[in-house]
Amino acid sequence: MAVTPEFFEQLERFGVAKTFECFNCGTCAAICPLVYEHFPRKLIRYAQLGALDRILENPKELWRCLHCGLCTQTCPREANPGELILGLRRFVVDRWRRSQHV
């Protein structure tokens, strides 16, 4: 998987600002009521790396999120994981709209 940091600058347009402050502790994944495969920590890491393919491989995952806000509330780095999930949703929807689907 190649790192493409430029991707993160695209995400900024969708309201994601603080993801680089994440130090990958996993508190968000532990507190998340979904208890599912390191969610949302894994997506945060993919966003840091600009691993676009990994995010688009299974975009449905983003809609599992209940947006309860527990991750954002407990994040020790105030990296706002909840906002990243919302931002990624906006990004995916925008991409879908730009494709031939609409």
Partner: protein, 643 residues
């Protein structure tokens, strides 16, 4: 010629020796395994023993008071305490005698805890304790008062190495009014700090810091700066050392050559030259030797950066792989006129920093350079230095992306966690690798934007393999001790398995060497940052000035002593003596007639006893450990008091 009168009668006037034996329970540590009361009863039977008592804790105030009372009431005049190891409480009980108004050397210690109750149980424990106590009592009955050896000290200190630690140590000593010789092999002051730019975490300029420090040193009349100088000879002992120094001139020193390559041939004294240090003047043309009489020596010989092996993370194989000191130097040389940092003509858009290069090496995983040991220690400063460098790049050249690859990351100390916070805010991207699977650096092939590609199994991405393109790879190299084999050999300095100089005790005596009068300052002892090196330097200066301010030193009296009546001047002892200057044959006039007799220089004598073993007439003995005392101890053990 020395005149001595020998009067055999004077040895006869001996007072009656009354030994007191005091046995400690150590709160059960001893008495759980040794029958202390039976031991006490047996000890009371031993020849020469006037009093035998026990106590739950002999080192406690009531325990010591009991001993003092017996001494002052005249019941005893020699003391044996049977307790823990002498390293713990021998000096405690010598002090007890002193407080009772007795000579502290009329004391003998029997170790019945570490050597008995902690390793033996039941009857054998009590029997061994009995033998040890009997031997100690027998020796005690033959103890004579001794006086510590008192020697005047030269009120002068020498500091070897003029990096920040050496400069600070010299300054602190001088400010206490002690004359200092500051010896530096290069023509410059400042050591490795001169090669730095912004110092983490305060972002202070290295040049400003050094200029401030060296200005004070150069303005201090009590400090004599010897640049281009090496120590080539060392003799003497605490308080009275003689150092031979050699001023090498320019041709003899690599560093000296640098002065020639300077833009100005004769830079002004006190001026800071980036990468080199503060100029003190030019080196003399011709080599010269001199000597310095000094009371204490502070070693501030510093470190050298780890030099990666060929191919280690692509070093040497790819020109775009450099060490952190090289990168700092390159970045400091940028004039900032270009919005992108250029290195050898190409823009640096992607910068990678790899941590722990040459540090925290693991046997079986890492490979040491030929003939060298693995560096298993953490170099402590590289995390902060790397993050400081990353921040500097991100803040001055925002188009350059920075990637850091670490095994573990820790910026200890005040204001240093903030470096990591700032790096996160600056969007530095971190990767974490396991020591067994380090990042691989390969050529990116022609046509690609960046010349190098780094592949790493990233534990932060759940072990996935990720690739990062890089224009420059910076290796955060650790610290190695400076090559001072000559000084180690000359001064008999203890060296740790990591190659750094070894202090007496890491917690309680952290800046002292076991060689009395020699002290440690800075990174010759271990990797340290500037603040820690300065801290150690100030501590060493305090230790040195404490030693020198008193004006004299007291040494243990356990040194060789010659019985001139018995000495026949064979010289066998002089041959056997391992310490230069401790023992020689001298002309002595005995009762008016000249004889050759052995003569001890107590300050030099190590008290090893090599001379005692070879003397055919038993004319030489170690004070406090005479052959007669040993014989008495053996007799007591053989007599078997337990039987």
């Amino acid at each position: 010629m020395r005149e001595v009168q020998i009067d055999s009668a004077q040895q006869a006037q001996a007072e009656e020796k009354r030994v007191g034996v005091y046995i400690c329970h150590c709160g059960g540590n001893i008495s759980d395994h040794v029958d202390v009361e039976a031991l006490c009863a047996r000890a009371g039977q031993a020849p020469g023993v006037a009093v035998a008592r026990t106590h739950m804790f002999m080192c406690s105030d009531p325990g010591q008071e009991m001993i003092i009372k017996d001494l002052q009431e005249g019941k005893v005049n020699r003391v044996v305490v049977a307790s823990c190891a002498p390293s713990l409480h021998e000096s405690t009980f010598r002090g007890t005698l002193q407080r009772a108004g007795f000579n502290p050397y009329l004391y003998e210690h029997a170790n019945i805890r570490e050597q008995v109750s902690w390793v033996h149980h039941g009857r054998p424990a009590t029997e061994k304790a009995t033998a040890l106590v009997a031997a100690a009592a027998a020796k005690a009955a033959r103890l004579e008062p001794l006086e510590p050896i008192r020697m005047d000290v030269i009120r002068h200190a020498t500091v070897i190495g003029a990096g920040v630690a050496g400069l600070q140590a010299a300054l602190d000593l001088a400010s206490r009014g002690i004359p200092v010789a500051l010896i530096e092999k290069s023509p410059f002051l400042g050591g490795h700090v001169a090669k730095l730019d912004n110092i983490a975490p305060s972002n202070e300029k290295a040049s400003e810091l050094l200029t401030r420090l060296t200005r004070q040193v150069l303005d201090q009349p009590a400090i004599t700066v010897h640049t281009c100088t090496r120590v080539v000879g060392f003799a003497g002992c605490v308080g009275n050392f003689t150092l031979r120094i050699k001023v090498d001139g320019e041709q003899g020193q690599d560093e000296g050559k640098k002065l020639h390559s300077m833009p100005t041939k004769t830079p002004r004294r006190g001026v800071f030259l980036p990468q080199y240090g503060v100029v003190t003047g030019s080196c003399p043309e011709n080599p010269a030797e001199d000597s310095i009489e000094t009371g204490a020596v502070i070693l501030a010989t510093g470190f050298k950066p780890y030099q990666p092996m060929f191919g280690e993370y692509g070093y040497g194989r790819h020109p775009q792989v450099v060490t952190l000191p090289e990168a700092i130097q390159a970045l400091a040389g940028e004039n900032g006129s270009h919005p992108v940092w250029h290195w050898h003509g190409r823009p640096i858009r992607n910068l990678a920093i790899i941590h722990c290069v040459g540090s925290r090496q693991i046997p079986g995983v890492h490979e040491a350079a030929e003939g060298a040991a693995l560096n298993e220690y953490c170099s402590r400063t590289c995390c902060s230095a790397s993050l400081g460098f990353a921040n500097q790049v991100r803040e001055n050249y925002p188009v350059t992306r920075v990637f850091e690859f670490y095994r573990d990351i820790r910026t200890y100390g005040r204001g240093q966690e903030e470096l990591y916070q700032r790096a996160s805010k600056n969007r530095v991207l971190f990767f974490r690798f396991e020591a067994q699977e380090p990042p691989r650096i390969e050529s990116n092939g022609t046509g690609s934007e960046s010349p190098l590609q780094i592949t790493v199994k990233d534990t932060l991405t759940f072990g996935e393999e990720v690739q990062v393109a890089a224009d420059l790879v910076v290796l955060a190299v650790g610290m190695k001790p400076n090559g001072i084999d000559d000084l180690v050999e000359m001064m008999k300095l203890p060296v740790g398995s990591d190659g750094f100089l070894l202090e007496v005790h890491p917690k309680l005596r952290p800046v002292e060497l076991p060689n009395s009068g020699l002290l440690l300052a800075g990174t010759c002892q271990a990797p340290m940052d500037i603040g820690e090196a300065t801290n150690a330097a100030s501590a060493a200066a305090v230790k040195a000035s404490g030693l020198l301010a008193r004006g004299f030193v007291e040494l243990d009296p356990f040194v060789a002593e010659v019985n001139l009546e018995q000495c026949t001047g064979t010289g066998a002892c002089v041959v056997a003596c391992p310490r230069d200057g401790a023992l020689q044959l001298a002309e002595v006039a005995v009762n008016g007639k000249p004889f050759k007799k052995a003569q001890v220089s107590p300050a030099f004598c190590l008290g090893c006893g090599a001379c005692v073993a070879v003397c055919p007439t038993n004319a030489i003995n170690i004070k406090g450990w005479t052959l007669k005392q040993y014989e008495a101890m053996v007799d007591a053990i053989v007599a078997d008091l337990a039987a």
